[in-house]
Symmetry: C2
Subunit: 343 residues, 2 copies
């Protein structure tokens, strides 16, 4: 591979500005499950640099035929419900069942530092040290739409790298749950007991999306409260309209810390997938998700095309200034900038 050799002696090489390889390098690396190369490819997809992102897209496109063959599990819950501990313990169980796990995060609210990324990994002690697991928080930048697109693309690359179970965790800030729901097959809502019988700040709309409500920290002195909460949530769920899949979401208790109740959750998820694959809902839902993502991608690309257009880049700061000074309306400014695309 002369290209690769040529790049490796590039005098501009530095640790910060990592080198670009030809697409084949990444595609092969991902195909062989090399997680360093997988990480590099995800970084390309996340890049705001057009050249890097284009390379990322090319890699993704060529990996797509290998993706899709996984179980995609969305997980959300109130802060303190123990999402990381749960994913760590449940992931361990899945690995013992012969699965391989990738964990991704949608977090549009924070601008994560390297420190907190490490923090995430440390909280998943078992998974972070296991060769059958891969943990990658999505670098948070830009709008929810942008972050979500990157997470979905990262998911597809993880699938191409051979991971058969994907967890997508959301931090539970408003709309990100809907976004995660729109890219997963199964949506798990993690709760804890002891916060009274109100819904712990979880909105009805999120309850309606859940395929399983798990009450974590059902251990020690908390056992009874967890059982009480289970019954209450069972009542609450029974009042909700039926799921489009026809599935009736159960409420189960577990302790990620003591690793109890996890087998039962595993069985529930298995039952769900058997059911929706048989009924055709699984396939139908993935098709609808693909269509929705086509529109999401269009909107994202329209923005990229606009902001990367040389005439727009030349004029936008100046136009913003005129709007700020009240010399041009927001609307006229937008129209003027848009017409630059046609030149």
């Amino acid at each position: 591979m002369p290209d690769k050799k040529n790049k490796s002696i590039n005098p501009n090489y530095s640790l910060k500005k990592s080198r670009l390889h030809p697409p084949g390098y990444y595609i092969e690396g991902i195909g062989s499950g090399n997680r360093t190369i997988l990480s590099q490819a995800i970084t390309l997809i996340e890049s705001s640099h057009p050249e890097r992102r284009e390379l990322g897209e090319e890699i993704l496109e060529k990996c797509l035929h290998k993706s899709g063959h996984s179980v995609r599990i969305g997980i959300t819950g109130v802060p303190g419900a123990g999402k990381s501990t749960f994913i760590d313990a449940f992931g361990k169980l899945l690995i013992n069942h012969g699965k391989s796990i990738a964990v991704l995060t949608v977090d549009p609210s924070s601008s994560r530092s390297k420190g907190s990324i490490l923090g995430d990994k440390t909280r998943m002690e078992y998974l972070s040290a296991h060769e059958k697991a891969y943990i990658r928080p999505t670098a948070a930048s830009g709008t929810l739409g942008g972050v979500a697109r990157k997470t979905r693309e990262a998911m597809l690359l993880c699938e191409a790298a051979g991971f058969d179970t994907i967890f997508i965790e959301t931090v539970g800030v408003g709309q990100s749950e809907t976004t995660v729901h729109s890219m997963t097959d199964f949506f798990l809502l993690l709760m804890i007991a002891g916060a009274g019988d109100e819904l712990q700040g979880i909105k009805r709309g999120i309850m309606e999306m859940a395929d399983l409500l798990a009450i974590n920290k059902a251990d020690g002195e908390n056992l009874q409260a967890a059982e009480k909460a289970r019954r209450e949530y069972e009542n609450a769920l029974s009042l909700l309209p039926e799921q489009p899949s026809g599935w009736k979401p159960p409420v189960q208790t577990c302790s990620a810390l003591e690793e109890t109740g996890l087998n039962e959750i595993y069985e529930t998820i298995e039952t769900y997938f058997n059911k929706v694959k048989e009924s055709g809902y699984f396939e139908q839902n993935r098709k609808q998700q693909a269509i929705n993502w086509m529109y999401e991608s269009i909107h994202q690309k329209l923005k990229e095309k606009f902001y990367e257009h040389p005439a727009v880049q030349k004029k936008i700061a100046q136009t913003e200034k005129l709007v700020e000074q009240g010399k041009l309306s927001s609307f006229k400014a937008a129209s003027k900038l848009i017409t630059l695309l046609d030149r």
Copy 2:
């Protein structure tokens, strides 16, 4: 005006497809405070028909120099807090102070029928019958971004029609509060007592945006509970970071039903506006909002341009089908459709 006359004998005229007039007709009508014409112009802005919307934009652009001279108040609160009753009673007080009121609604969640629009009006008995008031729920259709843009444009037209106080009500479903906050000068959070000391499903982020927290229904047997809630919310607010305006949001009680506490709220709002106008925050905030709206408008127009492009319209259904059948990836489909713009 030959044009107008010509239109009025248009044989295609029907009650359902209302006629279009030349821009001057609307601009003059709005300028003279004609609310029928104001309503027609808002309908044009809300239209998904390109020709109508373009006419709407032309009208808006020509009305802009008359807009901006109002006080823009956002209002949100849990269902049952009595938002409509509050706006009705508070609007009455403002009218008695010589003001004129326009009430708009951001409600991306519902597809309102004509029936519920009337319902809204009936709930504001005083305002709906008063010549100094104008009530217009925004027809909900499309994304929050789209709905918000229409509401903001309707607000500017109301200002051009001479209304000096604009209420923008949100139904409180997740992100719509942030949107309303982004187009108003003052944000009022309406609460009620008796729901315990938890935050009634109001998220911290919304508390942080509030310039005033009013506890409604402070009447009869509810008086003591309202006063208790006032103290609790005061404590809660004191823990929040300082507002960018430097304003410390007070907590006040009122009864929209008995029309008590409203004068005090009026005074608070007056104090706020005096303070932020003196400090320069008012002007600075409006400038920043105008810039943000420039970007919102750009994104909206990019989508319109795309979906209205003949080549896209010709191909999009067929492309969607290919994605559904798994013959084309979401990403490649998006790229293919986008390149049609350049032909």
